[in-house]
């Protein structure tokens, strides 16, 4: 499993820029970003190479930050690969809260980030899967 950082951002100009600036200033590399938005605010979800430093620096600038464990699944870059991995979660009745894609680290492979309702069970189901490889935090340091 890998660590995702979520940041609460009001819908106003310059807020995301501020977050990205803090990451840049601290030499933190962004692997993936996804924004879930409502009419008043958004939750920005980030996959980073140095999540612990990012949390510390963002908090110092008064951002509300949360660390969450998510699944990082490396799958083949071909039709039906994601379906096969997700199917394993589905047959085991694991519910997906949200998902988005992430920059690849190996050729011919893609990475998807999945937030599930039961992490332990999901890891148990996927750890020996033929359809995907479970990534861990170290995989994100490139």
């Amino acid at each position: 499993m890998i660590i995702q950082i979520s940041v609460f951002l009001e819908n106003k100009p310059g807020r995301l820029e501020k977050v990205l600036q803090i990451l840049y200033d601290n030499d933190i590399n962004l692997r993936s970003i996804s924004v879930a938005e409502t009419s008043d605010y958004g939750v920005t979800r980030l996959i980073l190479d140095k999540p612990a430093i990012a949390v510390e620096k963002l908090k110092a600038e008064n951002f509300i930050v949360k660390e969450t464990s998510v699944l990082g699944l490396e799958i083949e870059d071909r039709k039906g690969a994601m379906l096969a991995a997700i199917k394993e979660l589905a047959v085991n009745e694991i519910s997906i809260e949200y998902t988005y894609s992430c920059l690849p680290i190996n050729d011919n492979k893609v990475i998807i980030i999945v937030r599930v309702d039961n992490m332990e069970r999901a890891i148990d189901v996927l750890k020996d899967s033929e359809n995907c490889r479970l990534l861990n935090c170290e995989d994100m340091i490139i």
């Binding site: 409502t38 605010y41 939750v43 509300i64 930050v65 969450t68 809260e97 949200y98």
Partner: protein, 432 residues
């Protein structure tokens, strides 16, 4: 036109005589029936005999809303529950409302004063009075209802809300007189316009509007849009309800019915009484109330009293429209709100030190409340559905505590301005 010409135009000397008599009787009654006041008197070494006339008023202790809370629900009643025929309550600041009780005689007097107020605004026995104030624990609806019946007018107890039905009744029942909050009067006027109904098609002649602050500009607008004469009415449940004071045809202030209440204006800081014509906090002493007669009750409303004789012939002093508050209470759609009520809800939901701000706006003619809450690590979640359920929970709790729906917006930490370590809780963007 008067409802009770003898009393309404009584000479100042006679009025003072009545006030002296009633005040002395009241002090003796309160001293014997209300342990809270007896204790207060004893603490400052005051005996009922020390109060001989209105001149001695300033010797009496003040009563505050906090005293009512501390003595919830019946601690300040001067009559036995067997004599109480009705209870009303206003929203409280700590989850508990402020409770008031009326004896049969209190209801009679209240009806009399509401009848006087309606007549002063042009109502007659022929009037069809549409009462679009809320009925229920709030005193507005029932207070004016009893006044309309006492007068012998036809009361239409439609209560607040349901605008389409209000307009239908207004047309079909030939309503001549409207009673509601001034903002709702404007809302109704706009709804009429939207439906293409000209006020000339209606029979409306006059209205009394109160329970929230409004301005001369709003009066002009209501009068123009509804083609009526619009009158200001003042009251508060602690003292009685609507009809403590009301405007006559001269519209130069509201006559306080002084044969029942003695008004004073004090400096809210030094608490010293101020002479007529000075701006300050309005204080009332009840001299006829049986259920819950309060002494020198601090209304927190800021105004000025005028004792010059009014052209209408009424001799009772006039108070200006309310110009503000000496506490942080705000009134939205006739509902009294204290920022601390919002704070309590947030504390309940699990915020240790909630940072929040109330933003009040007027869209068209209606007031809206937005509550901005700074997100904390406790409240934050990476899942939108959790954040949405949080705002919904806050909304529901606020609506049940305030009896008013508010928009709840989550904002980033430290976005609410803090001054001297204390946040500025209220931003009122309404133009009166």
């Amino acid at each position: 036109m008067y409802w009770n010409e003898r009393i309404e135009t009584i000479s100042r000397d006679e009025l003072t005589y009545i006030q002296n008599e009633e005040l002395c009787k009241m002090i003796r009654r309160i001293y014997h029936n209300v342990p809270f006041y007896r204790k207060k008197f004893q603490e400052i070494g005051l005996y009922p005999e020390d109060i001989k006339s209105v001149e001695d008023l300033s010797k009496l202790p003040f009563t505050t809303k906090q005293d009512m809370r501390d003595n919830y629900p019946y601690g300040l009643f001067a009559a036995d529950l067997s004599e109480i025929v009705r209870l009303h309550a206003s929203s409280g600041t700590t989850g508990k409302p402020t409770v008031v009780g009326y004896t049969r005689e209190d209801i009679n007097n209240w009806s009399e004063l509401c009848a006087r107020s309606i007549v002063a605004a042009g109502g007659t026995t022929d009037s069809v009075i549409q009462i679009a104030y809320g009925y229920g624990l709030f005193t507005g609806g029932l207070g004016l209802h009893y006044g309309a019946e006492k007068l012998g007018a036809s009361a239409v107890p439609v209560s607040s809300g349901n605008t389409d039905r209000q307009l239908m009744l207004m047309k079909d029942f030939n309503t001549t007189f409207l009673a509601c909050t001034p903002s709702y009067a404007l809302y109704l006027a706009d709804a009429l316009e939207d439906q293409g109904i000209s006020p000339k098609e209606l029979n409306l002649k006059a209205g009394i509007f109160g329970a929230e602050p409004w301005s001369e500009n709003m009066r002009k607008e209501i009068e123009k849009k509804l083609n009526i004469s619009a009158h200001n009415i003042y009251g508060l449940s602690e003292i009685m309800g609507p009809g403590v004071a009301s405007e006559c045809a001269c519209k130069n202030g509201m006559h306080i019915w002084e044969d029942h209440f003695i008004p004073e204006v004090i400096d809210p800081i030094t608490l010293e009484p101020l002479p007529y014509g000075s701006f300050g906090e309005l204080v009332f002493t009840c001299i006829t109330k049986e259920g819950i007669p309060l002494l020198r009750y601090r209304t927190r409303d800021l105004t000025t009293l005028h004792n010059e004789v009014c052209q209408c012939g009424r001799t009772h002093v006039r108070m200006d429209r309310i110009m503000g508050r000496s506490d942080d209470m705000i009134i939205i759609r006739g509902v009294n709100i204290f920022p601390s009520q919002i704070e309590d809800v947030l504390l309940e939901i699990g915020e240790v030190e909630p940072h929040y701000q109330l933003i009040i706006t007027r869209e068209g003619t209606l007031d809206f409340l937005e509550v901005q809450v700074e997100v904390t690590e406790n409240l934050f979640s990476d899942k939108i559905k959790n954040l949405e359920s949080l705002t919904n929970t806050i909304k529901q709790r606020l609506s049940s505590v305030l009896q008013l729906s508010a928009k709840v917006t989550l904002v980033e930490p430290r976005t609410i301005a803090r001054s001297e370590g204390k946040a500025n809780r209220v931003i009122d963007r309404r133009n009166y």
